[in-house]
């Protein structure tokens, strides 16, 4: 059962690498959907295992919520927001792609370096999974910094949330149920609010390039 999780954690890490190397906003959303599906799968496997061992359905319910929210609802919402923003192809990021990927690798090495010596995680497999999922968080963070578009920043935020959820799943077999539910509620409201704001920004600033938002200086 453990090597299932190793494979899944590596796949999730790879999906975040794919995300970083995307150019278009459509591609972001698709990769995000893929990553969420993988996470749902892990949750499903873990939930199934819990049901078999001690019969509580919490994790399965959480897996269902993930599927509903992150795989179906949020990507459609992002598509709709992106839909009514007029389409202008712009270079969306600061550096070119090879440099971005190299930096992400650097981040993975760094997270391994700083997290690996923690005693509790010394069990090899948990350690590996936690390092992978933690580096997804760092990559999500870096993705947010490197993207110029507002939507890119929303996707970055969502990837950070994904990374955090996966770290929780791998290290502690999931947070208490109420907390998970609360996190998801927060997540969906956050995305809703950011969506509305992106639309408003588009009306006021005629573009969703975050560099235009610079007149509050000093």
């Amino acid at each position: 059962m453990e090597h299932y999780f190793d494979v899944l954690s590596v796949l999730i890490l790879l999906s975040s690498f794919v995300l970083v190397s995307n150019k278009r906003i459509h591609a972001y959303i698709k990769t995000f959907r893929l990553q969420s599906a993988l996470i749902a799968l892990t949750a499903g496997v873990m939930g199934f295992e819990d049901v078999v061992n001690d019969g509580n359905y919490d994790v399965l319910v959480v897996c269902a919520i993930i599927i509903a929210l992150k795989v179906i609802l949020i990507p459609r919402l992002l598509h709709r927001t992106y839909g009514n923003i007029e389409y202008r192809v712009e270079k969306d990021f600061f550096f070119n792609i090879p440099i971005l990927v190299i930096i992400c690798c650097g981040l993975v090495v760094f997270s391994y370096f700083s997290v690996s010596n923690i005693g509790a995680l010394s069990g090899l497999h948990i350690n590996l999974q936690v390092v992978n999922s933690f580096s997804v968080v760092l990559i999500g963070f870096f993705f947010m910094i490197s993207r110029k578009k507002a939507l890119g920043q929303i996707i970055g935020y969502l990837v950070i949330e994904n990374g955090i959820f996966v770290t929780a799943m791998f290290s502690t077999q999931g947070m208490p149920f109420i907390v998970d539910v609360g996190i998801f509620i927060d997540l969906i409201t956050a995305v809703l609010i950011m969506g509305i704001m992106v639309i408003r920004i588009n009306d006021q600033f005629e573009s969703i390039d975050v560099n235009k938002l610079k007149n509050l200086k000093g």
Partner: protein, 681 residues
């Protein structure tokens, strides 16, 4: 003296002050009544305060400890402790407040109907109360609170007439500098707390190690130096004092600066008790520089109150010279000389309060009558304001330390202490002492020149402006207030021994050695000579001798020359037509020789704008302007402030750039840095 119950008197005077403040609030609408009640209350309370402090001084009782209010906030309790030193400064304060309040009854009338008189009186009384608590605070935190309160209230008084340009900026410089000075005091108090675990000013400081004591001394010196207005940090003084209303600037210049002297004596001499002689030498050097530079800059000023403010810097310099000598003597174990020097500096503190307070009140009377502070527009006031001119003459003589007045006696004592500290062998100190003798002499002469300019240009000769020509004599209470001060100056000048008894009580309480033995003079025979180390002066005898000479000369002349035939005629005008006021010497002209002699100090600049007429030889108008550079501001403070502002602007725009990416990068770096730290630590 069993009727003398100290704490009733103390609480009594505080209560009367508060009553006066409440009266000012009640009669908020009717300005006449409000002024009368408030100031009368202050006079009464001041008299009570004076009686109280004299009682404490002469009752040989241990320090009076009162604790009216203990607050639950840790270490924040109101402790009032009055020993001889606090009583002396309370006496000085009460005398000045009494005279200034009598003066204010007349002076504040020019605010009636125009400004918020009620608020003025409340602030005035709060200012006095905060100073009383500074002198009587027993616990360092309460001292600091009273200190800051005094600064804030005097800031409000300085900006009271904020519509005059320059007052606002003056208030700003004042409050910022005093606040930063107070920060140094706070650090010193905290070091005191960290070693002794208590804030009690009367506690012993043996547990504090030597290095901490040196550090505390430096912080005390900076903190109290800023408030005293010693040279490097004096720039707020010539702005703040002229901006305040005259009766308030009399209080500020008269007594607020002395809180710094009280602080130095209390914390450095009594609490830390002098460890090294370099403490005294440092104060001596600051005193010399302040004395000379203070009077040098005063010479070039033509605004009366700025001139007087610079003179406060000079007199603080003289007080610090006395204090420096006493610290050096105490650290060298020469108790007697230390006592005499301390007596000299305290005596000069009291004298300066009297004549500087009087001079500022005089400046207030001139402004009240001639509505201007600029000497160049005055002239011939002696004919319109005879009484004020006599009083201002007395104060001018007193401040230039000239014989019959009190300024001379305290400067004479400072000379004697300087004289007796010079012993063959200590080369460095000898040179410093001779330089301070030279500095004292020069500042005395320059002060005399400066006050000849002030009195001569504004009171004598012809009136240079319409306002000066029709200046009415000021109302009676104003002259009464100044009169009392002038009388005190003369009395102390002629009978110094009377007052030295009081100071001796303070010195013996502070330094443990009685100085009267050395200063010789019975209590009753007030006219007994003041002798220090065998040299003695008896001002009374000199005055009597010169009076006898004058009478004899007049009699002989009367005998030889017959009746004095006097003919009134115009001043010698070389045959031209009538002399106009513009032909007189102006204040700028009067100080021109000294400006050229000391030009490296003033770096004078001049400009001549000529408005061309139809031909080059007949210009329509010439405008000649001469100015001296405020050296300290131009080369020290302004560059510093601009550098700080440029730095802050650059940092602000580089950190708060407005781009969300930059902000996210900061957080990202913070996360990575801390993870690295955790991994390595």
């Amino acid at each position: 003296m069993n009727w003398f119950v100290p704490d009733h008197l103390f609480y009594g005077s505080i209560m009367i002050y508060l009553a006066a403040a409440i009266a000012a609030v009640i009669f908020y609408r009717r300005h006449q009544l409000c002024t009368l009640f408030a100031q009368a209350g202050c006079v009464l309370a001041a008299i009570l305060g004076a009686v109280f402090s004299l009682g404490i001084l002469f009752s040989e009782s241990e320090a009076l400890l009162l604790e009216p209010f203990r607050s639950a906030i840790p270490f924040l309790s109101v402790v009032i402790a009055i020993d001889a030193l606090s009583a002396f400064f309370m006496l000085v304060l009460s005398v000045l407040v009494c005279c200034v309040s009598v003066y204010s009854i007349g002076y504040v009338s020019h605010y009636h109907g125009k400004r918020n008189v009620g608020a003025f009186h409340v602030l005035y009384i709060a200012f006095i109360l905060s100073m009383i608590f500074v002198f009587t605070a027993g616990n360092a935190v309460f001292f600091f609170m009273a200190w800051e309160l005094m600064a804030v209230i005097s800031y409000f008084l300085v900006v009271f007439e904020s519509e005059q340009e320059g007052n606002e900026r003056a208030g700003l410089i004042y409050i910022v500098m005093t606040h930063i000075g107070a920060a140094f005091l706070m650090i010193a108090f905290m070091i005191m707390f960290s070693y002794t675990g208590s804030f009690d000013i009367f506690g012993n400081s043996d547990t504090i190690p030597a290095a901490a004591k040196n550090l505390m001394f430096v912080f005390f010196l900076i903190g109290f130096g800023v408030k005293a207005g010693v040279v490097p940090v004096h720039i707020w003084l010539p702005y703040a004092h002229p901006a305040a209303p005259s009766n308030v600037s009399a209080l500020m210049s008269g007594i607020m600066i002395k809180t710094a002297i009280y602080g130095l004596v209390r914390f450095v001499l009594c609490y830390l008790d002098i460890q090294h002689s370099w403490w005294g030498v440092a104060i001596l050097c600051i005193g010399i520089i302040s004395a000379v530079l203070g009077v040098a800059y005063a010479l070039m000023e033509h605004n009366i109150k700025r001139l007087l403010a610079f003179h406060s810097v000079e007199n603080i310099g003289i007080i610090l010279i006395g204090l420096g000598i006493s610290f050096v003597a105490f650290s060298g174990g020469r108790e007697l000389l230390g006592g005499v020097a301390l007596a000299a500096s305290l005596f000069h503190t009291f004298n300066h309060t009297l004549f500087k307070g009087g001079l500022f009140l005089g400046a207030g009377s001139i402004q009240y009558a001639a509505h201007t502070k600029d000497i160049e527009k005055l002239g011939g006031l002696i004919k319109r304001m005879p009484v004020t001119s006599v009083l201002v003459l007395c104060f001018s003589l007193a401040i230039s330390a000239i014989v019959p007045f009190n300024g001379f006696v305290s400067e004479w004592l400072t000379y004697q202490s300087l004289f007796s500290i010079i012993v063959p062998g200590q080369t460095g100190l000898n040179i410093l002492s001779v330089l301070s003798i030279a500095a004292l002499a020069m500042s005395g002469a320059l002060a005399a020149a400066c006050f000849v300019k002030l009195f001569g240009i504004s009171f004598l000769g012809k009136a240079r402006s319409e306002a000066a020509l029709h200046a009415p004599e000021v109302p009676a209470p104003m002259n009464a207030g100044m009169g009392v001060l002038a009388a005190l100056c003369l009395a102390i000048g002629l009978f110094p021994m009377l007052f030295l008894q009081v100071i001796d009580k303070v010195v013996s309480d502070v330094s443990g050695t009685s100085v009267t033995g050395e200063l010789q003079g019975g209590f009753l025979i007030a006219s007994y000579p003041v002798t220090a180390y065998g040299n003695s002066i008896t001002p009374v005898v000199i005055l009597v001798a010169s009076a006898v000479i004058i009478l004899a000369a007049a009699a002989v002349i009367r005998l030889v020359g017959g009746k004095a035939a006097e003919r009134k005629y115009g001043t010698w005008d070389c045959g031209f037509e009538e002399l106009t006021p513009r032909m007189q010497y102006s204040a700028t002209g009067f100080t021109k020789p000294l400006r050229i002699v000391l030009r490296i100090l003033y770096r004078p600049g001049r400009s001549l704008e000529v408005e061309e007429g139809d031909s080059a030889y007949f210009p329509v108008s010439r405008k000649y302007n001469v100015w001296t550079e405020p050296v300290f501001e131009k080369y020290v403070y302004d560059p510093l402030l601009n550098a700080v502002k440029k730095f802050s602007l650059r940092i602000k725009l580089s950190v708060q750039t407005g781009s969300t990416h930059a902000y996210l990068v900061y957080i990202f770096i913070a996360v990575l840095a801390l993870m690295l730290y955790n991994r390595l630590a």
